[in-house]
């Protein structure tokens, strides 16, 4: 036991200060995507929906509906359009109502419509 005691003293404290202060390790965590409005048209939206393995994305008319609660942050949509879709960097995603997770991203309409 003294062995463990000494180790503990040498080791020091590793505990995070979250939530008082942000935790640096959060930087590497996978995060849901953020969509650049105005760069996503219907076709791209279709590709994004097709690329997503989870049920997070679906298209509703001229709106791309993004259900954050179902997103696994797998990053496949970012591979489809690296410019239009970027990591949001948000990991504090807990919500108290499912409605809060549903985000609507307006699509740009091609010319002539």
């Amino acid at each position: 036991m003294p062995l463990w005691f000494a180790r503990g003293l040498r080791r020091g404290i590793v505990t995070t200060h979250y939530p008082a202060r942000p935790d640096p390790s959060a930087a590497c965590l996978p995060t849901p995507p953020a969509f650049r409005t105005g760069m996503i048209d219907r076709q791209l939206a279709g590709e994004l929906v097709a690329a997503g393995p989870s049920q997070a994305l679906h298209r509703d008319g001229d709106v791309l509906v993004f259900d954050v609660s179902r997103c696994t942050a797998c990053g496949r949509c970012q591979e489809v359009a690296p410019l239009a879709v970027t990591p949001s960097g948000e990991f504090e995603l807990a919500g108290t109502s499912q409605a809060a997770f549903v985000k609507k991203i307006g699509l740009v309409l091609e010319a002539g419509q």
Binding site: M1, W4, G8, S25, C28, L29, P30, S54, C74
Partner: protein, 510 residues
């Protein structure tokens, strides 16, 4: 630099024995057609020849086809026998290779074909209420499989100690039927059907890229190994060759996975022995390793790293190089401190012994088998790139107890760090070769932290999966658990044994 190459095919002797025909011969895995009439002869021949029945599964076409996967651990390759069944019965393979029993039960409840011997078959994956319309890979069996392993009538001298499915906090759901005489453990049986998610059923009709997403959630704690096995199967089926840099990246990911799993197993061992300080030390190491994973591949559990035909990400080499030594140092120091703590070592020694004979009979794999003196490691026995060029060191003990498993894990962890160094020096990269169109079938494998993970797929012409067989190591090693638990142990040893096996229910229930 030496490379491990497959030795000339063991299939030759089999072909002469049963005058069958070779269907396919792909890097390290040969497929031989064996007519149902000669399946028993073939099985006897192979088992006598020292081949290991690595897996056994069926596929449903116009008729049920039975496939046996034999591991030739000295000839460095696998042999697949393919047997179309024209009757609902096939020769009792579990009498030849006992390891086959669990798969026989699984095939029965999924396809309704059973071994000719009247041996009662246990329920494995499907829940008790699975009726006619319950999704199956094949057809419903004529009569439902019994819980033959459950003691329906325990003589008054022993009683069943029920445990689960909702067990300790923060562990997976699992039901133990613990039959005890009040002192010693008479019998132990497991129910895992309440975690059956029908993954093999879901994979049908998927494209390989989508399949990877589910495959890495089959057994999250060995996501890399399972996805690697599936990807390799797809590549072997379609004859795709991933870029060499990508293979190095896979190797790095797999060894990182091994590292954090062994750290987690160490933490679990400390928890089960009630050594909180050791648990804290091990968890510090574990958390640091997971952060290295995140920094290197962008995911703490290495999800989404592999892809069919290659990898989706290259490792962040700088992050890995300066993160890993410190993290592994934590693991090493914690391990040394544990090895010097008698109260801990005494609980491990001679607990949960699996004999070499049991390990071979039950076809156990991974650290459990290696700790029992069975020197099998698919990275060496059936080497593929990058291990054919960067072979790992084989860690074997023969005590077969929890301590032996613990030591094997520590040796492997040390070797993984060395391997990661070599692989990094070899210049890992990313990118994936586009999968060629056209169908086919193939076998893939990878040595997960729990042991050999296998996957077999067949794809139709437009590249959709018609049958995918996922066999994580957990499927194999749980069947050694009750024997380990029954060898003169007391109740409080069982959590220790479970921690030392370090299996997942998700992997075996699928």
């Amino acid at each position: 630099m030496t490379t491990l190459q497959p030795r000339p095919g063991p299939a030759a002797s089999l072909l002469t024995a049963i005058n069958g025909t070779t269907l396919r011969d792909r890097g390290g895995a040969e497929t031989v057609a064996v007519p149902a009439a000669q399946l028993e002869t073939a099985a006897h021949h192979l088992a006598a020849g020292g081949a290991r029945l690595a897996d056994l599964f069926a596929a449903d076409g116009d008729q049920v086809t039975l496939r046996l996967i034999w591991g030739f651990d000295t000839e460095r390759q696998y042999l697949i026998t393919e047997t179309p069944l024209d009757s609902p019965e096939y020769p009792p393979l579990s009498d030849i290779a006992p390891a086959a029993f669990t798969e026989e039960c699984e095939i029965y409840e999924q396809f309704g074909v059973r071994p000719a011997s009247g041996k009662p078959l246990n329920r494995v994956a499907l829940p008790p209420h699975a009726g006619k319309d319950f999704p199956r890979l094949g057809h419903q069996p004529p009569e439902a499989p019994a819980e033959a392993h459950a003691p329906h009538t325990v003589g008054g001298q022993a009683f069943e100690f029920p445990f689960g499915p909702v067990r300790q906090v923060g562990v997976e759901s699992l039901y133990y039927g613990l039959v005890t005489s009040g002192e010693e453990i008479v019998d132990l049986y497991l129910f895992t059907w309440h975690k059956h998610r029908g993954l093999e059923w879901r994979l049908r009709g998927r494209r390989p890229a989508e399949a990877m997403f589910l495959a890495e959630r089959t057994e999250g704690l060995s996501a890399t190994a399972v996805t690697w096995a599936l990807a390799a199967a797809v590549e072997s089926a379609l004859g795709a060759e991933p870029p060499p840099g990508a293979l190095l990246t896979r190797g790095i990911a797999l060894e990182l996975e091994r590292l954090y799993n062994h750290a987690a197993a160490m933490a679990a061992l400390c928890q089960s022995t009630g050594l909180s300080v050791g648990q804290a030390a091990a968890e510090i190491a574990l958390e640091r390793l997971l952060r290295v994973n995140a920094a290197t591949f962008g995911h703490r559990y290495l999800f989404g790293v592999l892809d069919a035909g290659g990898v989706r990400r290259a490792p962040d080499q700088a992050a890995l190089r300066d993160g890993l030594p410190g993290a592994y140092g934590e693991l090493r120091r914690a391990a040394d401190a544990l090895l010097g703590t008698n109260s801990f070592m005494d609980r491990l020694e001679a607990t949960g012994i699996v004999t070499t004979e049991q390990a071979r009979r039950l076809g156990l794999v991974g650290p459990v088998a290696r700790a029992a003196g069975v020197p099998i490691d698919s990275r060496l026995d059936q080497p593929t790139a990058p291990y054919s060029v960067h072979p790992p060191a084989l860690a074997v003990r023969d005590a077969g107890d929890v301590l032996a498993r613990f030591r094997v894990m520590l040796d492997e962890a040390a070797d993984s760090v060395r391997l990661i160094g070599d692989l990094l020096d070899a210049g890992p990269g990313d990118g994936a070769t586009a999968l060629p169109t056209g169908g086919g079938s193939g076998l893939g494998w990878a040595e997960s932290p729990r042991g050999e993970a296998l996957a077999w797929v067949s794809l139709d012409a437009d590249g959709r999966i018609t049958r995918a067989r996922l066999r994580p190591a957990s499927v194999r090693n749980w069947r050694g658990f009750d024997d380990a638990a029954r060898s003169q142990n007391v109740f409080t040893d069982i959590p220790i044994i479970e921690a030392s096996f370090w299996l997942t229910v998700a992997g075996t229930a699928r």
